[in-house]
């Protein structure tokens, strides 16, 4: 069953939250992005040190997903040539909102939760961009996630597709 945007609510991670019982591993049980380890042991410290703020997404009263975001920049040479801004030709990277981690609890996969979170990051970045320069949302996607981000309108330089992690980006303005 597809999850509608109005079915979801969100807030920042709190010390009392325990997401360690949720399953963020891949279908085959592997965890190439380290999501399980991160949300169980590191997310709160990252938040306290302002390395990344984790937002927890709820379906009803239960947490079903999380996204950790921070400021970032994406090197121009990791993007397609058409993304270059003539005005800023001496700039080697463009400002972005970085999705450091994005995890959806296994029973809620393929129900559009991840896409809703991508919409959330894009609109958050658009709003921040009025106050702080921000042109893209960016993620370094593991191979298995590239297709998902493409469905969410993220692009990449095809030359980077063979790498273990692919720089993917979506314009927000």
């Amino acid at each position: 069953m597809t999850i509608r945007p109005s079915d979801l609510s969100y807030r920042k991670l709190r010390a009392e939250d325990d997401l360690s019982t949720l399953d963020f591993t891949q279908k085959n049980g592997t965890d190439p992005a380290g999501l399980q380890e991160f949300i169980s042991k590191e997310a709160l410290e990252y938040q306290q040190e302002r390395l990344g703020i984790t937002h927890v997404f709820f379906y009803g009263s239960g947490p079903v997903a999380f996204a950790t975001v921070s400021m970032g920049d994406i090197p121009v040479d990791r993007m397609q040539a058409s993304e270059k801004v003539a005005l800023a030709e001496d700039i080697t990277s463009y400002p972005c909102l970085l999705i450091g981690r994005l995890g959806v609890h296994k029973p809620f996969r393929d129900r559009n939760v991840g896409r809703r979170i991508c919409d959330w990051t894009v609109t958050t970045a658009r709003r921040y961009s009025l106050e702080i320069g921000c042109r893209y949302v960016m993620v370094r996607a593991v191979k298995d996630s590239v297709g998902f981000y493409q469905k969410c309108h993220f692009e990449c330089n095809p030359a980077n597709l063979s790498k273990d992690k692919v720089w993917m980006y979506r314009r927000v303005i």
């Binding site: 509608r4 945007p5 109005s6 979801l8 609510s9 969100y10 807030r11 709820f58 058409s82 993304e83 270059k84 801004v85 003539a86 005005l87 809703r116 991508c118 919409d119 959330w120 894009v122 609109t123 958050t124 658009r126 309108h153 314009r171 927000v172 303005i173």
Partner: protein, 47 residues
């Protein structure tokens, strides 16, 4: 609310504009941004 599409310039104005230009967003991209905004508004932030 998304900004209005940039008007098409011609001649000298267009050359001057292109000097500073970047790729304009496609209709598909603009529509996806509108949809993202709409979905965002429906999600509830808990304090």
């Amino acid at each position: 609310m998304l900004p209005e599409p940039i008007p098409v310039l011609k001649g000298k104005d267009a050359q001057e504009f292109l000097k500073y230009d970047s790729r304009p967003l496609s209709r598909k991209e603009l529509k996806a941004l509108e949809k993202a905004e709409e979905n965002y508004r429906q999600m509830k932030q808990i304090d």
